[in-house]
Symmetry: C2
């Protein structure tokens, strides 16, 4: 019936994910988008709307992929301590794969775009909240196990929500510092300290 599309939507979104992640919203021009996706200007606007709409869609893809993976990783860990360790290990692995100073796309969006785009702000808040919630669930689960073992010191039950959001804040700060180019040794110490903070 109609002319078929030449591009693969998922592939385009993933390419743009990497581009926006590394360079932010403002430093990627629509010419760049064309070059990166091998699409012409008109096709891009026809398929995705304007630049902002593309960015929003791409950011959601990132959120689903990366924060979704993080939440699953936390859920499948035996306890919060190893959950945090696994999370930071994944971050370090990502850096070693060539994304040394990229930080976290969601955190970057929080600084660059969220203040002038409520929809982006809502998206960022949503994914950060899922992370905090995953931490909280993990902490409460660990607490339950601890009390089953008749251990008197229920380490986290006092303020598990505070600690959960603290872990999120640390993770955000870690990523910002990674993007800035803070030394790996410092990042490693931050990671270690986060693990320690949930180790009995």
């Amino acid at each position: 019936m109609a002319r078929p599309r030449k591009f693969d939507r998922e592939d385009v979104l993933n390419r743009m994910k990497l581009a926006f992640w590394e360079n932010g919203f403002n430093d990627i021009s629509m010419d760049d988008v064309g070059r990166i996706t091998n699409m012409n200007r008109g096709s891009i606007y026809n398929a995705f709307g304007d630049k902002r709409a593309l960015y929003l869609e791409v950011l959601e893809v990132y959120g689903d992929q990366h924060y979704g993976a993080a939440v699953k990783l936390i859920q499948h860990s035996q306890n919060t301590s190893s959950a945090v360790r696994d999370l930071y290990d994944a971050a370090f692995k990502s850096m070693e794969e060539g994304r040394t100073h990229w930080g976290c796309f969601m955190c970057n969006a929080a600084v660059e775009v969220a203040p002038v785009d409520t929809e982006v702000a809502n998206l960022v808040t949503k994914y950060l909240t899922t992370l905090s919630t995953a931490f909280l669930n993990s902490l409460e689960e660990s607490d339950q196990l601890t009390s089953q073992n008749d251990s008197p010191a229920m380490k986290y039950s006092k303020n598990p929500q505070n600690l959960a959001e603290q872990l999120t804040a640390s993770y955000v700060g870690f990523n910002i510092m990674a993007r800035t180019g803070v030394a790996t040794a410092s990042l490693q110490r931050i990671s270690d300290s986060a693990v320690e903070s949930v180790t009995s």
Copy 2:
């Protein structure tokens, strides 16, 4: 000998500090700069060089003022716990004064500019390091007091450096989340948890 300047350099830098802090580098045009400082284009370029040089100078002013104040605040606190509390109290106070979603200029620069400007990256790293160092000094001082009191549990002496950098990462994350517009209640929990992490 020569025509005297009409503007006050310090005042201009402070005005631009607020503008760049709130809006970032890219969202402030040189027209904006002119409007904010009541200067003409040529005068600005004559006095400060180009936009990047102005930004760099302004960022350094911010660093000296705000991180300088933070370090002094930590030094003058009785122990690390109250130091952290005071630091976050100052942050909340700044928010209540109309800078609700501004975050921290240094952290914003870390995300927006540092990745494409090594000089900015170095500046950011420098001030973040001063903060970590202040935390570390405070922790070691607190530890010393604790051991003088013959208390067996020297809480922080195991990994004071890790904890110090963790406090910095948390502070950075806190500010990013504040800029995003995360609920005040969440920010308060992060603050509380940071204080708890250095309370015996």
